[in-house]
């Protein structure tokens, strides 16, 4: 228990309150509602019993050599990220309402906004959203608020989970959702162009896309713009921004996606880090918190939450979003990560690509088929008629090899989406390939 009021203190306090018992303080809860018995929960555990118990649960999970990305990227986290984000002034505070004692959070978020804007090639970025999927959904709603249109055209090579979430949000907000299939792992540009007309608010495309392939963003943006629609680029693997031309340069109006890969653990999928950046015309329509620069009473630079008129606690049902609690600590981790790795991010990105490509070549050597010749970053799709059984064999040997795509794309039961990060050493890759060879042969 984390309370401390002693019996003596309780008596004193009840005296001040003028109540005979703590029960009396609950008098407004009608008899009919008040709980009679005790909750049926397991008994309390001491700290060390709890740690042992949870440790045992953890060991029900299997830690394996992972070659899966698909929206959650297992990058190495420098120790400084843990140490600094673990400072309790950061993680035990809340939304920086009282700016005077929250400059730490405010400056960090201002820096985060700056870095996200720079990396995406946008003018502004918000202080975070929940995750990649909701960031896409919020981007679409923002676009629609801006141009008053109601239809979104979505690439079929957008992460299937993101598409699911967007469908949910579209249905709920009475918007129209239209999906353009991919062709051999790349958004079908012709079909896309055909689906865009002046009822379309925006086009959403992921880059690198779900299959790992790089899209022709310039062409897609041009198609969107020609119909007055916005081009929304979703980035699920933020490390790709370290090496690829940024979406802004390629014509994106809004860039959104997943920032987890920057200094946050995969954590069974949460907490993640929803990133949202946009051109400056969206400044007053963007959802979520924004930190801005200002002055204090002495005229010194200071930072503060700003443009709050967009937000629910002021604008209520006409807010740009309902979001309140966001993923601040994940954004803090991301900004620390980006400062530690700093301008070496390119080198890290190059490493990821090189090793991914190395594995892909080896896989083609041992009989896998490639899905396409499109360039890719650290993830790619390959197929093998015995993909399922190979995967199973590998799992037993401690390798989590690729995501089977059959659940997401009927007909692609033989395909695997494979990811390689800097955590996968060349030795590990070679070992994987030799095991695959054994399984292919055996």
């Amino acid at each position: 228990m984390y309370t401390s009021i002693t019996d003596k203190e309780k008596k004193e306090m009840l005296g001040v309150i003028g109540a005979a018992s703590v029960e009396e303080l609950f008098a407004d809860i009608p008899e009919s509602i008040a709980m009679k018995g005790s909750l049926d929960l397991p008994g309390s555990l001491s700290e060390m019993e709890l740690e042992a118990h949870v440790g045992a649960l953890g060991s029900m999970n299997r830690q394996v050599a992972g070659f899966i990305g698909a929206g959650a990227y297992d990058h190495y986290i420098p120790a400084a990220v843990d140490q600094l984000s673990g400072r309790s002034e950061f993680y035990t505070s809340y939304t920086p309402y009282q700016a005077e004692v929250s400059q730490g959070t405010l400056i960090a978020i201002f820096e985060y906004q700056t870095l996200v804007a720079r990396l995406t090639g946008m003018d502004i970025a918000n202080a975070s959203l929940y995750d990649g999927a909701t960031a896409v959904a919020e981007s679409v709603l923002m676009s629609m608020r801006a141009n008053g249109r109601k239809k979104v055209v979505v690439s079929g090579a957008l992460h299937p989970n993101y598409r699911s979430v967007m469908k949910t949000y579209s249905w709920a907000s009475d918007r129209l959702y239209h999906e353009v299939p991919h062709r051999a792992g790349v958004t079908d540009a012709d079909l896309l162009r055909e689906s865009i007309d002046d009822s379309v608010a925006c086009v959403v495309v992921q880059n690198p896309n779900f299959f790992g392939s790089l899209e022709d963003i310039e062409a897609i943006a041009a198609a969107a713009h020609s119909a007055g629609a916005h081009c929304i680029v979703c980035v699920a693997e933020p490390l790709s921004l370290g090496i690829l031309k940024n979406p802004g340069e390629m014509g994106a109006d809004i860039v959104c996606g997943e920032g987890q890969g920057f200094g946050n653990p995969v954590g069974f999928g949460g907490p993640m880090l929803g990133m949202l950046a946009a051109r400056k015309e969206f400044m007053r329509r963007i959802p979520g918190r924004l930190v801005g620069r200002t002055l204090d009473a002495d005229g010194k630079t200071a930072y503060v939450l700003t443009l709050q008129a967009r937000e629910q606690h002021i604008r209520r049902d006409r807010a740009t979003s309902n979001i309140c609690t966001n993923q601040g600590l994940c954004a803090l981790r991301a900004v620390i990560y980006l400062c530690i790795v700093g301008n070496r991010l390119r080198e890290l990105a190059r490493l990821n690509h090189a090793r991914a490509s190395y594995l892909r070549r080896r896989l083609l050597d041992v009989g896998f088929r490639k899905m396409s010749d499109a360039p890719y970053f650290n993830e790619f799709t390959v197929a093998h008629e015995r993909a399922v059984s190979i995967r199973k064999g590998l799992l037993e040997q401690g390798f989590s090899f690729g995501l089977p795509l059959g659940d997401y794309y009927p007909g692609m039961e033989d395909s695997l989406l494979v990811c390689v990060t800097e955590k996968n050493t060349v030795e590990q890759i070679d070992l994987l390939v030799s095991k695959i060879q054994d399984l292919v042969r055996g």
Partner: protein, 473 residues
């Protein structure tokens, strides 16, 4: 303090990236590549000092009392942080095979069951925060009426409601109508009656409400709604007051969310992440967002085969590591400890209320639950709630929530939580008494506050007038 970018200088960063070790690869064609370098070039010690010293400009629960009403800023046990960093949880990939993630699935499954026991509802842990829970709850309402073939467009929200309540409803296309409160701080049942018609899909109510009061007409309201064919949504942000003392289901709610970061003590992270599990009565369970963690004969699995679901609402399965902390918290407390949360939270709040009500105006004269609202109505010399909140900072406390709920002018919403000691409550009382004295005798001290903080009073107007949202060198 300077932003980190000011330290950037080409060549400073020595962070080492391993050699690829793989020279046999397909290069990415140049047209896809950029050579801009948008990231700072600084050295590790600068980063460490920058963020260490930034943290010194922050105030968290670990520094002292943080009576931010409605936010339940209680102590976050350190063991839960240790647990959430165990690699066998933090390192588990969400797309890994089910047989490799049984530990994660078990945690989610059990936690959902505990929340069910605590509230009487069935839970999905997908929502990433309270308002995400509200949003998915509003979707459940929408789906329910779609299935019923009823076109209902209105969601009722009391004037006391948190801003996320109307915002979430609006995101689902509902028209929001405001229900007034009576002078006792309860919903005005007469007015409500007038507003109820066949277009009302649902009403949202926080319980206890944002004045920290348990609505004495709650069951009556529930019955009215149900008779009208409407659903009753319970905002569980204030569950801290009643956990182990009463169940939301028995209060008549059909749908609710819980803010795990509040009642179940996961840290607020400077703004997040939290988690906002969505609970519904059994009959509505089929609408819950997918996936749901289910238990089969081969172990736990993620169940997507739920044809009536509103669909997916999160990239994966919600904020798992937050759920893990909440799980650990409940396991450490046990049933007695959980009930003790509410009892001590309510005791602490009433002690503060009783001690402060002679000093500041109390808009609604009642005992409270876990929090209460004062106002600046009686302050002399033009001293405002904002002034008071800034002066509190000078005395080493965080400030209460201010200007919310909106219908109380100059509201000061105080929630001590159960983890404050009597010593710190007493210290806070002394500070509030002293500020009142200053307001009368030395009002400038209050109006020019704060003076002892890392920066002086911050001007929000300048920020909004010509917004600077990114550093431009």
């Amino acid at each position: 303090m300077d932003v980190i970018f000011k330290h950037s200088e080409p060549g400073k960063n020595r962070y080492q990236i391993p050699e690829p070790g793989a020279d046999d690869y397909d290069p990415i064609p140049g047209k896809y590549l950029s050579d801009a370098s948008p990231l700072p070039d600084v050295t590790e010690v600068e980063v460490v000092r920058h963020f260490t010293n930034l943290s010194g400009m922050n105030y968290g629960v670990d520094n002292g009392m943080y009576p931010l009403g409605s936010c339940t800023m209680k102590y976050n046990p350190k063991i839960n942080e240790r647990i959430a960093s165990i690699p066998s949880f933090a390192g588990i990939h969400p797309m890994a095979d089910p047989e490799a993630v049984q530990g994660c699935l078990k945690v989610l499954h059990e936690l959902a069951a505990y929340l069910g026991e605590i509230t009487g509802m069935v839970f999905s842990l997908n929502p990433a925060a309270g308002s995400h829970g509200e949003l998915s709850g509003a979707m459940v309402v929408k789906k329910y009426f779609q299935d019923m073939g009823q076109a209902r467009h209105v969601v009722l929200v009391p004037d006391t409601a948190h801003g996320t309540n109307p915002a979430s409803a609006a995101m689902c296309g509902f028209t929001v109508k405001e229900v007034p409160s009576n002078s006792d701080g309860d919903v005005d049942v007469e007015k409500l009656k007038e507003m109820l018609d066949g277009d009302v899909a649902a009403m949202v109510l926080t319980s206890p409400n944002t004045l920290g009061l348990f609505d004495r007409n709650l069951r009556e309201i529930a019955d009215m709604l149900h008779r009208n064919g409407s659903l009753f949504y319970g905002d569980g942000a204030n569950l801290n007051a009643i956990v182990g003392k009463a169940r939301m289901a028995e209060m008549g709610f059909d749908i609710m969310h819980i803010n795990l970061h509040k009642t179940f003590s996961t840290p607020h992270g400077g703004g997040g992440p939290g988690a906002g599990p969505l609970g519904v009565m059994e009959a509505l369970a089929k609408y819950l967002p997918v996936p749901i963690v289910a238990q089969g004969k081969d172990g736990y699995y993620l169940d997507y085969d739920r044809p009536d679901t509103i669909g997916r609402i999160h990239s994966f399965y919600g904020n798992f590591l937050i759920a893990l902390r909440a799980y650990a918290y409940i396991r450490s407390l046990g049933p007695g400890g959980v009930r003790n949360i509410a009892e001590t939270a309510v005791l602490n709040a009433n002690y503060l209320l009783a001690s402060l009500k002679g000093l500041y105006h109390l808009p609604v004269e009642r005992r409270c639950m876990h929090e209460f609202v004062l106002s600046d109505r009686d302050m002399p010399n033009g001293v405002t709630t904002n002034d008071i909140s800034k002066r509190i900072l000078d005395y080493g406390f965080y400030s209460p929530t201010v200007y919310f709920p909106l219908h109380i002018e100059g509201a000061i919403m105080i929630e001590p939580t159960e983890t404050e000691t009597k010593d710190s409550l007493d210290a806070f009382i002394r500070v509030m008494a002293e500020i009142r004295r200053e307001a009368y005798e030395e009002p400038e001290k209050v109006k020019n506050a704060p003076q002892t903080t890392p920066v002086k009073r911050v001007d929000p107007v300048i920020a909004a007038r010509r917004p600077v949202l990114v550093w431009e060198g």
